[in-house]
Subunit: 311 residues, 2 copies
């Protein structure tokens, strides 16, 4: 049996798994990454673990897919920028090391692009030929599937939805611009917005409150939490409306940690999209929470391989 | 020699031309359309004129391409909505009539999508595989070329850039939403904005002033005109920034009547895009005025045929 390796490079660790063509994880493990490690050391660590998993698993390792935060050039696998937590990845090809070592096709994509591939191959995206996927987490990423294929753009950087400008005079973003979508609907943005609302109303909140808690409070009708969720939903609906008008999509899929909120987020987003998309374009669009949740990163990294090789 | 027919259905007339594979117009003519004419009468009028042109021109009519305002379904050629000036086009297939009559492949696309095909086949877009084209006129349309092909979306409605929301509390748009891009950078919007500024400053302006005049005044340093052009340029830059972040483009092309302003529009747009797109995505993007100007509609209508048939 052929299987594929997925490598999900996160901020402080890498998840590695072997995935069959139907999206079943045959085996997986995780390794911590020291933020200051040299590039070669990080890659060696990951490849050793991958080799172990492979040796323990009967079948053929057909290809390797890597997902990482940041700007990854499609053709070369070079991580040009981003990946703030592991600066030594920058300027290096994530694919060359593994190609030399395993002698199989190796691909690398931005993690949100991988997530879109994951939904296309193994998730709710199977049903659609044109969709956008948002990953709402510490930051906001995006991936596009157009005409049944992952769309990467001219160099592989497509889907930088987190930095779509919603308000030219708005909150400063770490990208250097103002009013980026990320500043209104990422987990830290929802948290910040909630706390500001509480302070304004003079209501108290636990110092260590999480975004998850805020969604729970909103579900119980707590006013500041409701307002914070409502505002995030408006921002999400605006961005999805832009994508629908621009791309004539069949579906919008909301993923990332924030999407675990489920219906309490999905409902206001779905309601509000009508305000931001032409009715002719809106009416055919279905809005979903991503189907792949806990293993989205790993499955997405592997899925890009199936998508790129058209398996 | 093979040639292609282009039919550019406008608000009050249709331009019809025969175009060779290099984009030379061999012959062209125009026919007035009565807004209240029945669908069959409009089509008969156009097809008679097309037949005459064809009979006068040695060679083979290989295919027909039609461009029209509104929502045109790719597969059926049905104009579902839009084309406000010729309501009887709605609900009818623009392609079936010509297929039956001429027995050649016939395609229809929204006029802005045609304009993108025109630049791709015959214009500045030849140089690029990924670009967006804006048509700034009475309304605002858009067309996308992705991976070297015109992108039409799930039903053919992609590129509705004029209705991207720039301000949820902004000017009401005739689409039923608020703050659409069209309300800030179309010819009537620039005119409205200029007049408002003049009234605020108490400065006089000729009642019949045109958008073209405003660009000329801005070139001479007239303050209200400069401000109106500056605001339109900001809106254009924002929308192009969104497209760049989302689609990792190589170029943005500005077409339509407003684009005749040339550098007086192009320069502020080019300068301002930096505020709205990630630098990694921005730096590879070239901004141009459309190359096809006077015959953009006709050439675009014909170009879609070459693009669709991959000739």
């Amino acid at each position: 049996m052929k299987y594929f390796a997925g490598v999900d490079l996160g901020g402080s660790s890498a998840k590695i798994g072997l995935v069959d063509p139907s999206g079943n994880i045959l085996k997986q493990d995780r390794v911590s990454i020291n933020a200051r490690s040299q590039f070669v050391n990080i890659m060696t660590l990951i490849s050793h673990l991958l080799e172990e998993l492979h040796n323990d698993t009967p079948g053929e390792l057909a290809a390797i897919g890597i997902g990482a935060p940041g700007f990854i050039e499609s053709q070369t696998g070079i991580l040009l920028a981003g990946a703030r937590n592991i600066p030594n990845l920058r300027g290096n090809s994530l694919t060359d090391f593994f190609k030399d070592k395993f002698n199989v096709p190796v691909f690398a994509d931005n993690d949100a692009t991988c997530a879109a591939a994951g939904e296309l191959e193994f998730g709710i995206g199977k049903k659609y030929k044109n969709f956008v996927l948002l990953t709402l987490g510490t930051g906001i990423g995006g991936g596009l599937v157009l005409n049944g294929k992952v769309f990467r753009g001219s160099r592989g950087f497509a889907g930088e939805i987190g930095h779509v400008c919603l308000d030219p005079g708005g909150v400063w973003c770490n990208c250097g611009s103002r009013g980026c979508f990320e500043q209104y609907a990422s987990a830290p943005a929802i948290l910040r917005n909630y706390k500001e609302k509480c302070k304004k109303r003079g209501s108290r909140f636990p110092e260590n409150i999480s975004t998850k808690d805020i969604f729970q409070l909103a579900g119980k009708g707590e006013k500041c939490a409701e307002a914070a969720v409502e505002e995030a939903a408006s921002a999400i609906a605006r961005v999805l409306g832009i994508c629908i008008n621009l791309l004539n999509l069949e579906a919008c899929i909301i993923g990332g940690g924030v999407s675990r909120a489920g219906d309490i987020l999905l409902k206001p987003v779905t309601d509000k999209i009508d305000d931001f998309a032409w009715s002719h374009l809106r009416k055919d669009v279905e809005i979903h929470i991503a189907q792949l949740q806990n293993n989205a990163g790993l499955l997405g990294a592997a899925a890009q391989v199936l998508e790129r090789l058209s398996i």
